[in-house]
């Protein structure tokens, strides 16, 4: 991996020419947001490459310190905006760990269900945009339609599509709404057919395979050095999946496989994600089939606010409601690290509480930040078109990289 500043200055002894420097981005059709990549080119070959981030910095971590524990959830939505529910997941688990409470089984199952639906939605966006990067435009429209069904389900339950903040500390915003199960089952029945369509459209296409196979490879050691997690690391052959190694929210009760590939190239990443969608379908099906009855939030009014009827009848409920929404939940002082397996990798939250209603510090480990750092290794001495393929395969969301 060459340093870009020295590469730019190097003169080719034969031709007497310096490499051409190109700025891909921050406004460029292939950067999935506002990533800027500086590349030094020799013809179309990459001599050096440097990703430059920070164009979407919104100060989410700092802003969290000025909001109550529940209000901060709305900011986590806006990091990885393609699977906001997974972001909520890691955060609320962390706060619940500090509080020392565990949510009822029904809530855990619903959380798992939505986390997996979000994973499918996120992978669908990845598939569409990655295919678009390769020049195949149709898959994007197909995947968006499938994702639309998932967003519809999220809208049914949470009221919004993109930034639902559906998971709350100690429970959920709502229980599953009526009619949800039918919609979910219709999706579960229809989606496998579409997966086959994607395979037919892409995996049997020699151009697609030629573009992906052997492109932007990385070894498992190097990937671990860069702190890669999630599907990218599993594509290198490391079976690391927090859902199985550190089960949370009853994941240990679900039967699913951790998908790994060995090649570590773009094609392996593509296959890992495609098969992960099938595994996610399996998990969602188990969750809805075995959904326990009962409470969907922690009992009592100290963490989860009383409902409206209760407030109208009960003076004490009114007081608790008022306290929760003005001061926030009193979280005992302490610090905690909680991580969940997101669609892009391990989303970790380091939360420090000083005993007040607001977090003292929230530090987020966004997987995309670590994943994009390895871009120069992936594309060294490759073609310009491979940069686009590599960025597509990393599946970055800049909101999460910059936070």
């Amino acid at each position: 991996m060459a340093d870009i500043e020295t590469t730019i200055g190097q003169v080719d002894p034969e031709t007497g020419l310096k490499p051409m420097v190109i700025n891909l981005g921050p406004q460029h059709p292939a950067t999935h947001g506002v990533l800027r990549v500086r590349v030094a080119l020799d013809g179309e070959q990459i001599r050096a490459c440097e990703p430059i981030i920070g164009y979407l910095h919104t100060g989410i971590e700092k802003n969290c310190e000025d909001l109550t524990f529940n209000q901060a959830i709305t900011l986590t939505d806006r990091m990885d905006y393609l699977s906001p529910i997974t972001n909520n997941f890691g955060y609320v688990l962390g706060v619940e760990k500090l509080l020392g409470v565990e949510v009822p089984k029904r809530c855990q199952y619903i959380r798992v269900m939505f986390a997996e639906l979000s994973r499918i939605a996120s992978h669908l966006v990845w598939l569409g945009t990655a295919a678009m990067d390769m020049g195949a435009m149709s898959p994007f429209f197909y995947t968006m339609q499938q994702r639309e069904q998932i967003l519809d389900m999220i809208e049914m339950s949470a009221g919004t599509r993109m930034n639902p903040s559906y998971f709350r500390v100690g429970g959920l915003l709502n229980d599953l709404p009526p009619g949800f199960e039918e919609k979910l089952r219709a999706f579960l029945d229809g989606f496998p057919h579409w997966l086959q369509e994607y395979y037919a459209l892409l995996d049997r296409n020699p151009i697609w395979i030629e573009r992906l196979k052997g492109t932007a490879p990385i070894t498992a050691e190097k990937a671990l050095d860069y702190g890669w997690t999630g599907p990218l690391l599993r594509a290198c052959g490391v079976p690391r999946d927090l859902r199985q190694t550190n089960p949370y929210s009853s994941y240990e009760e679900f039967d699913f496989d951790v998908i790994t590939e060995t090649d570590g190239d773009v094609y392996a990443r593509y296959h890992v994600r495609m098969r992960e969608m099938q595994e996610s379908l399996k998990i969602v099906r188990q969750a809805i089939d075995n959904l326990p009855e009962g409470d969907w939030h922690v009992p009592g009014w100290k963490i989860y606010p009383p409902n409206k009827q209760e407030i109208g009848r009960n003076m004490e409920a009114l007081i608790y409601h008022f306290k929760l929404f003005t001061e926030g939940i009193r979280v005992p002082a302490g610090e905690v690290y909680s991580a969940v397996e997101g669609p892009k990798g391990e989303i970790g939250y380091f939360i420090v509480s000083d005993g007040s209603g607001k977090p003292y510090r929230v530090r987020v480990r966004g997987p995309s930040f670590y994943n994009i750092a390895a871009l120069p290794v992936l594309v060294q001495d490759k073609m310009l078109a491979d940069v686009v393929a590599a960025i597509g395969s990393i599946d970055i969301v800049l909101g999460e990289v910059d936070r």
Binding site: I22, P29, M134, A136, Q145, M383, L384
Partner: protein, 326 residues
Amino acid sequence: MLTVILIIVKGLITAVLLLAAFGVMTWLERKVLARFQFRPGPNRLGPAGVMQFVADGLKLVFKEEIIPTAADRAIYLLAPFISLTAAIVAFAVIPWGPPLHIFGRTVPMEIGGPDIGILFIFAITALGVYGIILGGWASSNKYSLLGGLRSTAQIISYELAMGLAVTGVLLLAGSTDLNTIIARQYHLWYIVPEILGFIIYVITMVAETNRTPFDLPEAENELVAGYHTEYTGLKWAMYMMAEYINMITVSGLATTLFLGGWHGPWLPPELWFLIKVAAFMYFFIWLRATLPRLRYDRLMAFGWKVLLPVALLNTLATAVWVAVAR
């Protein structure tokens, strides 16, 4: 004198028809592509959005013309004209119907019909690529430059295979005159004996027109818009016109060489020609909806290591067959 007037009139009619076909084609492409992708496509202006291309054209006319300060002004302005002119002129020799008999005169349907019609087309279409290369270079934009360079590489890799793919037909017909070639296909279209040549021709014709999966010179996901990144308004529209008219020309040539030109039962010959060309145009859109883009080096490898040898073998086989048959 009358001949000159006839040629001018025919030229005007052909040029206007081609430009109209470009308009209709942009609408058709958006509509068909939309059908492939489960979306409605343009549907606001006129029935099924047919007037969309008129609105688009008007919009482009009124766009501000921006010329980059660092651009080489003269060449920057000239380049789109080269592309468009070459595209329209190349169509001149393609006969889109049998000769017309008016007032005792025989009027051929093509504008001018030199005996070397096919060579003329190759010469002119090769000229058209200068528009792309010069435009990419004169914009003084790195993306444009890369687009122009890719175009050069592509034309070198594919023009040769295209020429060889056609040679088989020329050997069978024993002529380079397009009318003669069509006449020889009265009983049997050349697609039957020359199926290999046809396949190679179809691949190279997609590469020739810079369409998916060979749209590297304007690969939007890599090079923003490739060679026409810096072009605005009508000059950009000229590049688009050149691309679409080139598509019509290579489709017309494919029809002429392999599908018997305007030959066909029941319907008028001009309509047959139109149907065959339209089928090719649909094929172009179909490809765009289905395929991803090739990588630059793989494209070159495919052109030199696969298409060229196969085309050579095909030519050799045809030559042997023609020699034996005589």
